[in-house]
């Protein structure tokens, strides 16, 4: 027998060992299939009221049902566009009382029925300050939730308004009272249930490998129909580019937001992927601090002047910026709104791009280049300010530099402060900034987001620049209370024109989302406010199954 070198022997051993370890597979038919989502964040917990984290929401869609949910239109006014989930039907019992009748087939995954006691328990938990749920403020107009009988839950409201139904169903995922009642409310964030939940949704929790992946499996007994995709896996990848590469390299099936035009082009070039554009829920703006930097009791020497803010807004060519940075992935918003909102209307009046007019306004207000250094000044003070931007956002940093160039063209000097996001947030919260490139995410209702960011209700919260206009707030209140969708749209248009004229910020871009999904998936429905909301309807035709779809464990 010839003598082999040790390395050769090792290689042969490895090949023999691998050959003996064939992949376990065999599932065939309509209920096979695995979906791997390349997620860029990991949830801190899976207990829905404990976190507003996007991934908690995505996974929550599969584990915990709401009473009903918005439809593809994302209309939040009235109840006609809502789809029943846990609630089989509902009715109004007077102007302030809403009655839900639960589907008697609904079961927790431990076999217990879902009851009105669970609904009551859920409301009490979401509104308990000890739980500290970020959804609590959104439920403030619901006075109480009680159980009439085991399958009937009654919601009572403080006041009548068009989005009563939306508030009742959208923010809360119903929780199992029998499993959570014993957990002290101030320990919910750390409860073991949050890492090993038992739900009532189309998928069951299987496992969670920290910083690696999380696996769910279809509940074949789900009362609204067995989900066709058998297994869902969230693969946690902290870097967006790597997450995109995983999808392009066919090592994941879905990346729900590609974010940059370059990523979209690369995904388009991958033969196995299909591209799905959908309305985005984020807009970005340069927010002016209307109060003095670091002292909210004094007006800002530059931005307290409405005309100066208007001039700065007119100096920015928003359309060109969007075209050069985002291409088709962004639009210039007609106000502080994302394209998700139904109030988006290109007819809303906005300040034009007009550098000559901007220069005239600044001249008229005494901001001229007196010393010939290229920078406007007044009473010896240069027209100069800082732009605060978090290092975490490549796009916003890029925008800060582009804005710097555009301001320089009309004699305004800016310095960019790129800081870590926790430092940025601390500065924003304490009012220690001049301007900042900020992004806001909207839920489908314009009421909550706009109120929190652009009215007095947001002082100390998300209205970092402390913008206030009594007329704007009056119209917003009217819009929120409008009885019909048409009336609401008209009022929102008026409100947006008011804020645009005030220019408390420059509304730079609204992102359009683009998802990349493996082409073997069929019936891909993406609801703009929550891409994962309808995953339970996606399917893979049996003739398109690949290796990872067939695997049995």
């Amino acid at each position: 027998m010839p003598r082999r070198a040790p390395f050769q022997v090792l290689v042969i051993l490895a090949v023999v060992t691998l050959a003996g370890c064939e992949r376990r597979g065999g599932c065939t038919g309509a209920y096979c299939g695995t979906l791997i989502n390349a997620a860029v964040a990991e949830p801190p917990t899976l207990l829905p009221p404990s976190s507003e984290n996007v991934v908690v929401g995505d996974i929550g869609e599969q584990l915990f049902l709401k009473l009903a949910d918005v439809g593809m239109s994302t209309n939040t006014i009235g109840d006609e566009d809502f789809q029943p989930l846990l609630a089989q039907r509902w009715e109004w019992d007077g102007p302030l009382t809403l009655v839900f009748h639960l589907d008697p087939r609904a079961r927790w995954q431990d076999g217990q029925p879902v009851t009105a006691a669970d609904v009551e328990f859920t409301f009490n938990a979401y509104t308990d300050s000890a739980v500290g749920s970020p959804f609590r403020p959104k439920l403030r107009r619901i006075a109480s939730v009680t159980q009439r009988d085991a399958s009937t839950a009654v919601f009572r409201f403080h006041e009548r308004y068009p989005e009563m139904f939306y508030d009742a169903v959208y923010h809360m995922r119903i929780l199992p009272a029998h499993l959570l009642r014993a957990v002290p409310r101030d320990q919910w964030k750390t409860a073991p249930f949050g890492r090993q939940p038992v739900g009532d949704g189309p998928y069951r929790f299987v496992s969670w490998q920290a910083a690696q992946s999380l696996e769910l499996v279809a509940d074949s007994t789900f009362f609204l129909g067995r989900p066709p995709i058998r297994r869902l896996i969230w693969r946690f990848t902290p870097n967006l580019q790597v997450a995109v590469q995983q999808v392009i390299a066919d090592q994941a099936d879905v990346r729900e937001q590609l974010v940059t035009p370059d990523n979209v082009e690369r995904a388009r070039a991958a033969k196995q992927l299909t591209i799905y554009p959908f309305r985005g829920n984020v807009y970005t703006y340069l927010g002016f601090n209307l109060r003095a930097n670091g002292d909210t009791s004094k007006p800002n020497p530059i931005f307290a002047d409405r005309d100066v803010r208007r001039a700065l807004s007119m100096a920015v060519d928003r359309a060109s910026l969007v075209k050069s940075t985002l291409g088709d992935l962004g639009k210039v918003p007609p106000g502080p709104m994302s394209s998700l909102l139904g109030i988006w209307d290109p007819e809303i009046r906005q300040l034009p791009y007009d550098t000559a007019q901007a220069a005239r306004i600044l001249n008229a207000h005494g901001w001229r280049d007196h010393d010939g250094d290229g920078i406007r000044d007044k009473n010896g003070q240069p027209l100069a300010f800082h732009i605060l931007v978090p290092t975490t956002s490549v796009l916003r940093r890029q925008y800060a530099r582009l804005l710097q160039e555009q301001f320089r063209a009309i004699g305004v000097q800016t310095d960019i402060d790129e800081l870590e996001f926790s430092v940025v947030n601390e500065r924003l919260s304490s009012g220690k900034f001049d301007t900042s490139v900020l992004s806001r995410g909207n839920d489908p209702s314009p009421g909550s987001g706009i109120t929190q960011t652009w009215t007095r209700a947001g002082f100390g919260g998300s209205n970092f620049g402390r913008y206030y206009n009594a007329e704007f707030e009056r119209v917003v209140d009217l819009a929120i209370a409008a009885p019909t969708r048409e009336r609401a749209r008209a009022l929102w248009k008026a409100a947006m024109e008011t804020i645009n004229a005030d220019a408390p910020g420059i509304f730079l871009y609204a992102l359009e989302n683009v998802a990349a999904v493996h082409s073997r998936f069929d019936n891909v429905q993406i609801r703009p406010d929550s891409w994962a909301a309808l995953l339970r309807t996606w399917r893979i035709p049996p003739d398109r199954l690949i290796d990872r779809d067939r695997v049995e464990r």
């Binding site: 691998l18 000890a130 101030d186 910083a211 690696q212 992946s213 870097n239 924003l428």
Partner: protein, 336 residues
């Protein structure tokens, strides 16, 4: 071990503990003094003041810093690393899950670093100023000067996305091998380890090769090497027995220095390759201002670095008979 050697070791151990305590203290103060709050939320999103207040009270973050530090030390003395408020779990659990991954990555990178670096250094030393030496010398200089993150992204793009030879991030195949329970899954882990370990290891190997080449050349001019050649000892034996053995001192020194490089490199590499190790954990903890987690990862890192250097010093003493311990507890070159 002699009494003097034992005394030296005790002194080094005491000094090591002092260094670790100093590092922990420094990191504890620094992270608490850094701007930013532990409940900052997402960029541009206002943190809920109620939630923030709850968190601050729950973890006694409103207490004076000295009190928090004392509490931390007392807990640490009881083996309690504290609670991670960003992960909602004990720090000990998070560390127990991530340290093995960092050890796998650092171990593989260290192996590649020294095997490849040593081999190249020896090979170059035997062919000084000839074409292979010039080519390898320039290649190692090129790799050594590459930013690690750039090399990582390049390897991912070429070997992961374009060629599809290796997985793009992650420690395993989440479908077939969520845990290592078969030989197939063991190979799957090694397959996933290739790109991150190569990124860390190649840069290290380039440095090691240059060190080793220089050390070999320094030894080559020594009398005992010339004597061995004059006696007719085969070249292979001269290189391996006489030259390499004496040139190993610089190699051992570099071994001690490799630990800080590997641990700092791991922070970047683990984040880019989605490798669930301690480096990525530390990075996320710093961003979240997760005080307990940041301090604990700094503690572990300092223990590893100090232990690595101690080990290197011991190995130096063993490898070189000229190095002896004097009464004062310092390693001394008795021939100098």
């Amino acid at each position: 071990m002699t009494a003097v050697g034992g005394m030296w070791l005790v002194r080094r151990l005491v000094a090591s503990v002092a260094i670790i305590v100093a590092v922990v203290t420094f990191v504890f103060i620094l992270i608490h003094a850094a701007p930013g709050k532990p409940c900052a939320g997402q960029p541009g999103e206002a943190a809920d003041p109620v939630v923030c207040e709850q968190l601050i009270r729950q973890f006694a973050l409103d207490r004076p810093l000295y009190e928090q530090y004392w509490r931390y030390l007392v807990a640490l003395a009881h083996g309690d690393f504290g609670y991670s408020f960003s992960l909602h779990r004990p720090v000990r659990d998070a560390l127990a899950e991530t340290i093995p991954f960092t050890l796998q990555l650092a171990g593989a990178a260290l192996l590649l670093d020294f095997v490849l670096g040593l081999g190249l250094g020896i090979y170059q030393a035997g062919r000084v100023n000839r074409l292979p030496d010039v080519i390898i010398g320039n290649a190692t200089l090129f790799i050594y000067s590459l930013p690690t993150f750039w090399l990582a992204l390049l390897l991912l793009l070429v070997f992961g996305e374009k060629l599809g030879w290796f997985p793009v991030g992650g420690p395993n195949d989440p479908i077939f091998c969520p845990v290592i329970d078969s030989a197939y899954c063991l190979f799957d882990r090694l397959w996933h380890l290739v790109l991150p370990a190569a990124t860390l290891g190649l840069v290290g190997a380039a440095g090691t090769a240059r060190f080793q080449r220089a050390a070999m050349l320094e030894v080559a001019s020594q009398d005992y090497v010339r004597t061995a050649r004059a006696k007719g000892v085969p070249e292979r034996r001269v290189v391996l027995r006489h030259q390499l053995r004496n040139a190993l001192l610089s190699f051992i020194t570099r071994f001690g220095l490799a630990f800080p490089f590997l641990l700092t490199g791991a922070v970047l590499i683990e984040t880019i390759f989605a490798w669930p190790g301690m480096g990525r954990l530390a990075f996320d903890a710093i961003l979240a201002r997760d005080y307990a987690l940041v301090t604990a990862t700094a503690l572990i890192a300092s223990v590893v670095v100090v232990a690595g250097n101690l080990l290197a010093d011991i190995l130096l003493g063993i490898a070189d008979p000229r190095l002896r311990v004097r009464g004062g507890g310092e390693l001394e070159n008795v021939t100098a």
